[in-house]
Symmetry: C3
Subunit: 139 residues, 3 copies
């Protein structure tokens, strides 16, 4: 069995945003030499997500509006977590909707994707350094 | 390490619906010859889900009503994604709640399941051909 | 390839609650002897979750309040699933938000975690015996 681990550093200038990381994952899969296996891609921070969906800016806008409706940032006093001095309780909630991780099949050395699948990093409490883990296993 | 990949074709006649695909996944696991490992099952389209829950029609009705409340289809003009000519923005939102994929343990050659676990395909924008990927790895 | 499977028994005295199971997962990873691989941790029951987030009691309170708002327990008659004699339809909905499973990278024999990542069992219909599955594969 082969295994390869890489860490991707993220530091978004705004509180919330989505970044397409598909190319970075493809590079790690290629470098791993794995032909048949799986790749795990996960946020290493608990107020961020990794998810698969469409690379369409209108949809990303819709996600942002929708998540803000389901788990509003303000008033920050509505969340007990924010009594700790944080103001990011909503980010921990939004991340549960969008998910922590994806697992993608590697077939014949490539991400085994449908026509529109792209991997995104979703940031809900940015303006600080965070990491994404990419782990490939297989043969 | 052994690996086996199969694609399941779906084409639901209605916009939304749930299909039990547990038997199909079991067949692929058996055919793979894997005794100890994992199986990944994921929607290959970004307006559909694969998830594990109960095979109970009342619950599926509840999911449908609940998802429509959290991410309504109409008015379609409320979503910027639909400015692209699509009317399926809500499907991309619903799929995030229900998830893209499941990973299931394979133990002694079988899906290592609790008493009520069943695997479902969840369609949120049907009436077109879609695929589910089943990938088994292990030994 | 090495593989190790363990089952963790849960029986919460209340309907809803969160239990940190990180130490138990670490023990199974250590006992497996796997240096490079992945560990799957999933609820084996469909009204419970396994998820990764912060071990902070204020946040857990916020999750509980938020999930109750998104998928209220009462009135139980609002859910068709409860016509079967159950009163736990809301638990099946809450579990979809929080997720069934996590997959964590194992690197150099340890859970490859960010600074705050902890693994939790989320119970939404307790006062009965349930199980969590821990499966490690790798080398």
């Amino acid at each position: 069995m082969k295994a390869k681990t890489e860490y991707l550093f993220m530091n978004l200038p705004q509180r919330r945003g989505f970044v397409n990381i598909t190319r970075e994952v493809e590079k790690v899969v290629k470098a791993s030499g794995v032909q048949e296996g799986m790749v795990l891609v996960n946020a290493m921070h608990i107020s961020a997500s990794v998810f698969i969906n469409d690379d369409e800016s209108g949809l990303h806008h819709d996600y942002d509006v929708w998540l803000e409706k389901l788990a509003p940032h303000a008033p920050t006093s509505q969340y007990r977590h924010n009594d700790t001095g944080e103001d990011n309780a909503d980010a921990h909630l939004k991340r549960q909707i969008m998910g922590r991780e994806v697992v993608v099949a590697v077939t014949e050395g490539k991400l085994d994707f449908g026509p529109w699948e792209q991997i995104f990093y979703g940031e809900f409490d940015g303006r600080r350094k965070k990491r994404v883990l990419i782990k490939v296993i297989g043969e």
